[in-house]
Subunit: 215 residues, 2 copies
């Protein structure tokens, strides 16, 4: 109902420059596939986009190619390299750094689309998912072990599998809080800061002892 140039009221075919439209497709495809799953039809997506279905094939050779772009936009583009710097800032207590990190990290991943895309693609068995987990391990969990060693006055050493696994438990506990909230839509505590803080507290209560033991 937004009238602009009075007479020709409805411009039936709203054209967009190629790059712009492509971007629009990817962004809305994230929402669409997150909600309906990757098995949902390209016609359903086209309807949501307000265009016809064959138009999608002008921008992406196949449905799978479009889905790959979705993965890229969600996993790769939203990853912030500065997270590593944050964790490594030894001017602050590790506990502070961890709390801040998990606050900013969950700002990125604790939303319905991210979570659902992640679970859907995980069930599909796509490789990018395993790559993401390796990234988490090398850029987040192993650094956490290293920082904990430093704070405990231990010499640097490569993190053992068991140590990383323990940090995974805390990380997974926080992640699963997001799953319960955003996927299962359960009644979760709305005090997310406290949930994160307590998980970190439990980690730091036990981790130093583990590190000292097996070196």
């Amino acid at each position: 109902m937004a009238k602009d140039k009075s007479p020709e009221a409805e411009p039936k075919r709203r054209r967009l420059p190629s790059a712009e439209r492509r971007q629009e497709f990817i962004l809305k495809a994230i929402d669409f596939f997150a909600e309906e799953g990757f098995e949902s039809s390209t016609r359903g997506l086209a309807k949501k986009l307000g265009v016809t279905q064959p138009l999608l094939y002008r921008y992406f050779p196949s449905k799978e190619d479009l889905i790959s772009e979705v993965y890229d936009a969600v996993y790769v583009k939203r990853w912030q390299p500065e997270w590593g710097d944050l964790l490594a800032d030894r001017s602050r207590p590790l506990s502070d750094r961890l709390n801040e990190f998990y606050n900013v990290y969950t700002d990125v991943i604790f939303n319905r689309e991210w979570m659902r895309i992640f679970l859907f693609s995980g069930l599909k068995g796509v490789d990018i998912n395993r790559r993401y987990l390796r990234l988490v391990r090398s850029r987040i969990l192993e650094p956490i072990v290293a920082e904990a060693r430093h704070e405990a006055g231990l010499p640097p050493a490569e993190a053992t599998d068991a140590q990383v696994e323990f940090v995974w438990t805390m990380h997974g506990g926080i992640f699963y809080y997001g799953v319960r909230k955003l996927i299962y839509e359960s009644n979760v505590s709305d005090d997310q800061d406290t949930v994160i803080a307590t998980a970190i507290e439990a980690l730091l209560a036990v981790l130093p002892g583990k590190l000292a033991n097996d070196t």
Copy 2:
């Protein structure tokens, strides 16, 4: 090529009594849908069963009805009421009980089919999923808080949301270990007992303090 009674070699139509076949369908449907997702075709399932697709409709009015039976077989039938007794056995230290409980509990849920069915149905937004989480809360997590209170010499009291949330973090950490192992098929530590034991250790290191504080 397995010859048995020489001449009639291949009995084209192998009939089964109704109840038996129905059960067979449900069991194989669990594997099938766990692997391929609930959007997979009834023809695919029939092929796996070695029968024709319309036969499924003699046993289940619709695909959704069959899927409901799958949920029932996985979530409801595999739940063991004695888990509650195990957690409540005050003749043993809570730490022991928790370790034993998570060992037997993960015996049930740490397998590819259970995990995948759970995630698939969660993404579908079916209500049985939320019901399952409520069961976990009332039969596992709240009892854990109650037992921890008792062991800390505190008077009985209803568990607060924040307390349950903290136990959820440990529970979710263990659960997510299973997800990484069975869904993402990552390189996880194969020492599952230690993973569980350490998660419990971290919980018990912090939980008593939390309980004392807010009563």
